[in-house]
Amino acid sequence: MSRARPAAAPPRASMLGAALCSARGLSCGYLGRTVLAGVDLDIAAGEVLAVIGPNGSGKTTLFRTLAGELAPIDGQASLRSPRGLVPVMDIPRRERAGLVGRVLQSERPSWPASVRSYIEAGTFASTGWFGSPGAWERRAVEEAIEATELGPLAARPVTELSGGEFRRVLVARALAQKPALLLLDEPASDLDIARQMDILGLLRSLAGSGVGVALSVHDLNLAALVADRVALLSRGRLAALGPPREVITAEAVASAYGASVIVGDHPVLDLLQVVNLPAWLKPKEGKCD
């Protein structure tokens, strides 16, 4: 079920393929409103999992619950800690921040802090209220800046960055937490196609270094491009989970989104490709079956 993806130079070889995060019979949602029910899902070290589904299908709610920001309504959400798989609500907040990093879609900076100091907030979990970043934290920040290629921008105020640059800062801050697992809400939305490829390439290379990556994404072609496995949320449950070609089918898309598409092959890469087929456009002569 969970296909481990071997990495080129795995720094955490022992962790590769191990579940970093596990949901069993998980129901999640808000007070009096269950959004998702009966979810069974593992996220493995070194894999990229794309979570797809229509607006309101519960992608962000699932991430909030897996990260322990939202208590499960029923079932279990667990995180891999040094003590093994532990129910996420039993893990203290700061320890949790060292296990799972999140990138939110709608974050806006309040103050013109420098890129470096914004990323340094990722070390709060290890320093706490009174500590200031020491050698370990400073190295974590520098490594995060290097991995996201933000060096030239490190002294710039975050309020002056473009959307793509700021998204990279958010990924860098999550990396400075030194988490084994990254959960990203729509990291590719609002970006132009070149910036989208930048951020997805970054996520791919992070997975290559052994981090478990889960991202929600609207564009099914981007999901096919970056993901080892795809999770489809629809009608309040996990409708399908598996490799892109098994999950992203014309039937599944029609059922989940109510959209008519053709799923074919990418002309050059060994990837599937999703093409829209809206009812309000007429197919070319001889192309209608």
């Binding site: 990260a67 920001e69 907040r93 921040a97 806006r108 900076p109 100091s117 907030a121 709060f124 801050r173």
Partner: protein, 346 residues
């Protein structure tokens, strides 16, 4: 270092101004005279005696009249500056300040309630004044925070300022109601509400200092959490911050600072807005430097405003709240105009 020099310069300047202007030399001699031992009017004859007498008068003016009130203005300004920085960090909005959010009005309501109790014992009166001011400020800050949070998803700045204005005018009306019902305290309370440090003594300074210092200490503890909170509540929580505890401490610290200032000098607007604003220009947005810098800037601003209140229309003394509002309100509007409707930018 620069802040200390600025503070000393403002203190010196503030001690020079007033109904009887003194030269900086006279002020320094006056300060040294009582620090370095007694120097009475007794001495040589003629010009020397005349000069010694003038120095004695200067020393009396400085030590008995001006130094305590100037330092009290500094303490109140520091408390307001730090409270403004904490509120701005909590609301993630550079327009937040104890006055605009109605926190000062809450403190004033508590203080007026305490004054109208007519407690005779000075210690009990000061305790009641500070305690009820703090309770009023705390209630107002918590209320504004609750309203702004519940309705502020779309236009945070507008929701915040409207909530502050609504709470502030409600509390102001309550103050007026109490004053109308208790006519005999009317004039005393009215002048106190306008804000001012006239006639304040070393005892008032001793009463204000502990609360203001404690508020500043708690504000300093909040420095890193407020930095983290700048990313927004959900992001801060995912970074490991206990947002609820940060919020509660920030409301408590800013309320205590505001209550200390209001108990000391009445309702003084805009110092909590301008202090952090100047501080941010000087030391940047990081709260570890911003909070002490805001306290220093608030102290300098209010000492200068107090000196201006004493000297502009001397021998009539203006309420210092009038001076800060005349200087501060245009700057507030300018800051507001630089921000978009979504509360972004600036």
């Amino acid at each position: 270092m620069a802040a200390a020099l600025l503070f000393a310069a403002a203190l010196l300047a503030s001690l020079c101004f007033g109904a009887a202007p003194l030269t900086p030399g006279q002020v320094v001699r006056a300060l040294l005279s009582r620090l370095g031992g007694a120097a009475g009017p007794a001495g040589a004859s003629g010009a020397a005696q005349d000069s010694a007498a003038r120095d004695f008068v200067a020393a009396t003016i400085v030590w008995e009249l001006r130094l305590a009130r100037t330092l009290l203005a500094g303490v109140a300004g520091a408390a307001l500056g730090a409270a403004g920085a904490v509120l701005q960090g909590l609301f993630r909005n550079p327009l937040a300040d104890p006055y605009a959010l109605g926190v000062s009005s809450g403190a004033a309501l508590g203080a007026v309630a305490a004054l109208s109790l007519g407690i005779a014992s000075p210690v009990a009166a000061v305790t009641a004044l500070q305690g009820l001011s703090f309770a009023g400020a705390l209630g107002a800050a918590a209320l504004v925070y609750g309203i702004a949070r519940a309705s502020g998803r779309r236009a945070p700045t507008a929701a915040l300022l409207l909530a502050g204005a609504a709470v502030g005018s409600f509390l102001g009306a309550t103050v007026s109601l109490i004053m109308t019902l208790r006519q005999r305290d009317l004039q005393r309370v009215f002048f106190w509400l306008l804000g001012g440090f006239g006639g304040k003594s070393w005892g008032d300074l001793a009463a204000a200092l502990p609360a203001a210092a404690f508020a500043l200490l708690v504000s300093m503890i909040l420095a890193r959490p407020l930095d983290i909170l700048g990313s927004g509540e959900e992001a801060a929580s995912s970074l490991g911050l206990d947002v609820a505890r940060t919020r509660a401490l920030a409301v408590a610290a800013s309320s205590l600072g505001t209550a200390a200032a209001v108990s000391a000098g009445g309702v003084i607007g805009f110092v909590g807005l301008l202090g952090p604003h100047f501080a941010r220009l000087l030391v940047g947005p990081g709260h570890r430097r911003l909070i002490p810098a805001s306290a220093a800037a608030g102290a300098v601003l209010l000492m200068i405003a107090d000196a201006a209140a004493r000297s502009i229309a001397a021998p009539i003394e203006l309420p210092v709240g009038v001076v800060t509002a005349i200087l501060g309100a245009p700057l507030f509007l300018w800051l507001l105009s630089r921000r978009g409707p979504e509360g972004q930018g600036a």
